[in-house]
C-alpha cells in the first residue's frame, strides 16, 4: 500500500501484531521496520493469514483500492487518524471498514512521482520485470506476489532503495498498468493462477481508466491473459471461409501504411526481377483480397517494351460450398487486367495449410515463364507444426522461382518461455497501437477494425498454445538463418524500393513517426525507434539461376 506519511500507518499494523492469533508470519511483522509493515499486509493476505482462500482475491483487490485511495495524502491521513479498528487481524473486515470510511476513491497517485520520475509509458525497455527493480527487493521473493509488493515499496518516499531506472514521463498509471500486466504474466509463468486472476482484474480496472493507445493495448492483453488463465482459447473456426479476417485486414490496409509498404516494396523487388521476362507467373501464398496485384499489373503495363503476360496463382483457405471467393477474386483481377491491357491468367488453390502444397499443383511452365513466389504474413503460421515450414520451403525450391518475396512481422513471438513472449508482444503491439492512435485523421471505423485485427493476433500470441498458436512471428535474423539453411540466398532490395517506401511514409500526416530502414538488404518499416514489419527477398542458392 502506498504511504503518504509514514507515521500515520504505524498504529494499525502494530495493533494487529499485538492482537492477532500467533502465526509464523507475525514474527516477520514484528521484526520489520515500520516502512515495511504495509508490505506485510499483502504478504499476510496472500499467505492466507486470517483470510479465507476464497476471499483472497477479493481482499487483495480491496487492498489495492485502499492503496489507490490512501495515496492521496489529504484523504488518507485524516481518515486514518479518525477510524477505530476492532480486530484488525481479520483482514477482510478491516479492509471493509477502511473502505467504507473513505468516500472518494480516486486513483491519483501523488507519491510515486515525488520519489521517482516516470518513464514514457511506451518505453518498455526496462521490462522484463525483475530488472526494473532494485536488487534488495528480491529479498522478498516469496512468489510472484512479491512483484506486486515491490510496487508498494517502489513508491516509498524515503528513498531507501536506489533507482536503477530513471523515468521521464508523468504517465504514472500507464507504467503501473504495464507493471501489473507483466506481474500477471509472471504469475501465469509460475502457475500461480489465483494470483494471476486477481492481477488480471486489477489490470482491467486500470486499463479502463487509461485513455489512449496504452489503455486499448492493455485491455486486449488483459482479455488474452484472462483467456489463458481460464484455458478458454478456442481456435476460431471462421465459418465464412476466412472472410472476416480478410475484411479486418482490409481495414488495417487502409488505416496505416504497413501493408501498403509491404506490397509496394515486394512489388518493386518483383519488378526488378522480371525486367526482361515475357511471361510472369506469380504464386501468392496468401491471396486475401488481392490488393497487392493491381499495382503490379499497372507497373507491368507501363513497362517500356510493353507488358508481359501475367499469370497469378492465388492460395486461400478452403472454400465453403456456397461461396467460391477465390474464383470471384480471380474474375475481378481479370477485369482489372483487361482495363490495363495486360494479358492475364488466374488459378485459385484452396489449401488448409501451406504445407499441403505440392509442386505439381502449380503447373509451372519453366521453359516459358519467370516464376515469383510471394508471401505476406504467411510463413510464420507454419512454425506451429514441426516440419511444415521445411516442407513448404522444399516445395518452393522444387518449382525453382526466380525470386521469393517475404514480408513478416519483426518480432520474436515464438520464444519457448511464455514470459519472454509476453514481454516482446507487449512492446510490439504497444508500438502498433501507438501508431494507429496518432493518425487522428482516420475514420473511427477503420481504426477500430484495425485494432480488432491486431487484438486477434494478441489473443493468439498470449492465450493459445501448441498448434493453435499460429502467430509465431520471428525476427528477420531468425528468418535469415532459416532461409539460408533451407538453401536460399538473400537478394538485396534496391534503392528504388527504399525511395518509394520513404515517399509513401512521408505522405502520412504523422509521417515523422514512421521510419524506413535498410537492414542488410531488407527493408524495415517501424514506428519511432521500433521496427515492425520487414520485407526481404530471396533466390535459390547456387547462383545458377538465370533470369529470363
Amino acid at each position: 500500500m502506498k504511504r503518504g506519511h509514514g507515521e500515520t500507518w504505524d498504529p494499525p499494523p502494530a495493533s494487529r501484531s499485538g492482537e492477532g492469533p500467533s502465526m509464523a508470519d507475525k514474527k516477520k511483522v514484528a521484526d520489520d521496520n515500520n516502512n515495511n509493515n504495509n508490505m506485510d499486509d499483502e504478504l499476510l493476505a496472500v499467505l492466507g493469514y486470517k483470510v479465507r482462500s476464497s476471499e483472497m482475491a477479493e481482499v487483495a483487490q480491496k487492498l489495492e483500492q485502499l492503496e489507490m485511495v490512501l495515496s492521496n495524502d489529504d484523504v488518507g491521513s485524516t481518515v486514518l487518524n479518525d477510524t477505530v479498528h476492532y480486530n484488525p487481524s481479520d483482514l477482510s473486515t478491516w479492509v471493509e471498514s477502511m473502505l467504507s470510511e473513505l468516500n472518494n476513491p480516486t486513483s491519483s497517485d501523488v507519491d510515486p512521482t515525488r520519489s521517482c520520475v516516470d518513464r514514457s509509458e511506451y518505453d518498455l525497455r526496462a521490462i522484463p520485470g525483475l530488472s526494473a527493480f532494485p536488487k534488495e527487493e528480491e529479498v522478498f521473493d516469496e512468489e510472484a506476489s512479491s512483484k506486486r509488493i515491490r510496487l508498494g515499496s517502489w513508491c516509498e518516499s524515503a528513498g531507501e532503495s536506489t533507482r536503477s531506472v530513471v523515468l521521464v514521463d508523468s504517465q504514472e498509471t500507464g507504467v503501473r498498468l504495464v507493471h501489473a500486466l507483466v506481474a500477471c504474466a509472471e504469475a501465469i509463468q509460475q502457475e500461480n493462477l489465483n494470483l494471476a486472476d486477481a492481477l488480471v482484474k486489477r489490470v482491467g480496472t486500470l486499463a479502463a481508466s487509461q485513455a489512449g493507445a496504452m489503455g486499448k493495448v492493455a485491455t486486449y492483453f488483459a482479455q488474452a491473459l484472462a483467456r489463458r488463465i481460464y484455458r478458454d482459447y478456442t481456435a476460431e473456426t471462421d465459418v465464412s471461409g476466412g472472410s472476416l479476417e480478410e475484411v479486418l485486414q482490409m481495414h488495417f490496409y487502409d488505416s496505416c501504411p504497413y501493408l501498403k509498404f509491404a506490397h509496394f516494396t515486394a512489388n518493386q523487388a518483383i519488378l526488378e526481377a522480371v525486367t526482361t521476362a515475357r511471361r510472369v507467373h506469380v504464386i501468392d501464398l496468401g491471396l486475401n483480397q488481392g490488393m497487392q496485384w493491381p499495382a503490379l499489373m499497372q507497373a507491368l503495363a507501363l513497362r517500356p517494351g510493353g507488358p508481359p503476360s501475367f499469370r497469378l496463382t492465388g492460395i486461400g483457405p478452403p472454400q465453403t460450398e456456397n461461396s467460391d471467393s477465390l474464383q470471384q477474386l480471380g474474375w475481378k483481377l481479370a477485369q482489372f487486367a483487361q482495363n490495363m491491357g495486360v494479358e492475364f491468367e488466374f488459378k485459385g488453390l484452396a489449401a488448409e495449410s501451406l504445407s499441403d502444397l505440392e509442386p505439381a499443383m502449380f503447373e509451372t511452365r519453366p521453359e516459358s515463364e519467370t516464376l515469383v513466389v510471394n508471401s505476406v504474413f504467411e510463413l510464420h503460421r507454419l512454425l506451429a507444426r514441426s516440419g511444415s515450414i521445411e516442407k513448404l520451403l522444399n516445395t518452393v525450391k522444387a518449382i525453382k522461382p526466380s525470386i521469393i518475396t517475404v514480408v513478416e512481422q519483426e518480432a520474436n513471438h515464438n520464444g519457448i518461455v511464455f514470459l519472454d513472449r509476453f514481454n516482446e508482444a507487449l512492446h510490439y503491439y504497444s508500438s502498433l497501437f501507438d501508431s494507429l492512435e496518432d493518425s487522428c485523421s482516420l475514420p473511427s471505423q477503420d481504426r477500430v477494425m484495425s485494432e480488432v485485427y491486431l487484438g486477434r493476433q494478441i489473443l493468439n500470441v498470449v492465450a493459445a498454445e501448441g498448434s493453435d498458436r499460429v502467430e509465431r512471428h520471428e525476427t528477420v535474423a531468425q528468418w535469415r538463418i532459416r532461409m539460408k539453411s533451407a538453401g536460399f540466398d538473400p537478394v538485396h532490395l534496391g534503392s528504388s524500393a527504399f525511395k518509394q517506401a520513404s515517399m509513401l511514409l512521408s505522405l502520412y500526416a504523422t509521417g515523422d513517426g514512421y521510419r524506413v530502414e535498410e537492414n542488410d538488404g531488407c527493408l524495415m518499416i517501424g514506428w519511432q525507434t521500433r521496427p515492425l514489419i520487414t520485407t526481404s527477398a530471396w533466390k535459390l542458392a547456387g547462383g545458377g539461376q538465370s533470369r529470363r
Partner: protein
C-alpha cells in the same frame, strides 16, 4: 480573329440613320480548342477557378488532356503515351490529379518529379480504383478508401 463584319445602325444628330461597320466581336466561348489550349497552361488552383466561371467553361475544363498536362508538368522525362490508356481506365487524369497528385505534391514539394513519385501516385491510384469497384464485403457504412491518409487532417479541438 473572326472575319465576320457586323453592320449596325447608328442614330446621328441630324436624325438620319447611317450604316456603320462595327468591330467584329470575338468570343473565346466560340473557340473551345483555343480555350483548352489556354487552360492547359494554368496551374491547379487557377484551373479550378476557371472551371467555376460558367457552365461552358466547366464542361470544357473536364477535358482530360488539360489535367494530363497538369499532372505531368513536373515529371521529367515525360511518361509514354501508353500511360494514357492506363489512366483513362482507372478513372482519368482529373481524378488522378485530385486524389493522388495534388496531395502528393503538397506533401513532397519538389519542382521536378522523377519516375518514382509518379509510380507511387499511380500505385495508390490503382489501389483506390480496385478497392472501390472490386472489393466485396465491407464492415460499416463508409466505403473503403485507402487514400484517406492523403486528406488533410481535420483540426478537432
Amino acid at each position: 480573329m473572326s472575319s465576320e463584319k457586323r453592320v449596325g445602325m447608328v442614330e446621328k444628330s441630324n436624325n438620319k440613320r447611317q450604316r456603320v461597320n462595327q468591330v467584329p466581336v470575338f468570343s473565346i466561348n466560340d473557340h473551345h480548342d483555343v480555350l483548352v489550349e489556354i487552360l492547359r497552361r494554368l496551374d491547379g488552383s487557377s484551373l479550378c477557378s476557371a472551371a467555376c466561371v460558367c457552365r461552358l467553361w466547366s464542361a470544357v475544363a473536364r477535358n482530360d488532356s488539360i489535367w494530363e498536362e497538369l499532372c505531368f508538368r513536373q515529371v521529367s522525362p515525360r511518361p509514354s503515351l501508353s500511360l494514357r490508356s492506363v489512366v483513362s481506365a482507372l478513372g482519368g487524369y482529373r481524378c488522378l490529379y485530385f486524389l493522388c497528385i495534388r496531395p502528393v505534391l503538397a506533401r513532397l514539394p519538389k519542382l521536378l518529379w522523377t519516375r518514382d513519385q509518379l509510380q507511387l501516385s499511380l500505385s495508390l491510384y490503382c489501389v483506390h480504383y480496385y478497392e472501390r469497384l472490386y472489393v466485396g464485403a465491407w464492415l460499416g457504412d463508409a466505403p473503403p478508401s485507402s487514400l484517406i491518409f492523403l486528406r488533410k487532417p481535420v483540426n478537432v479541438v
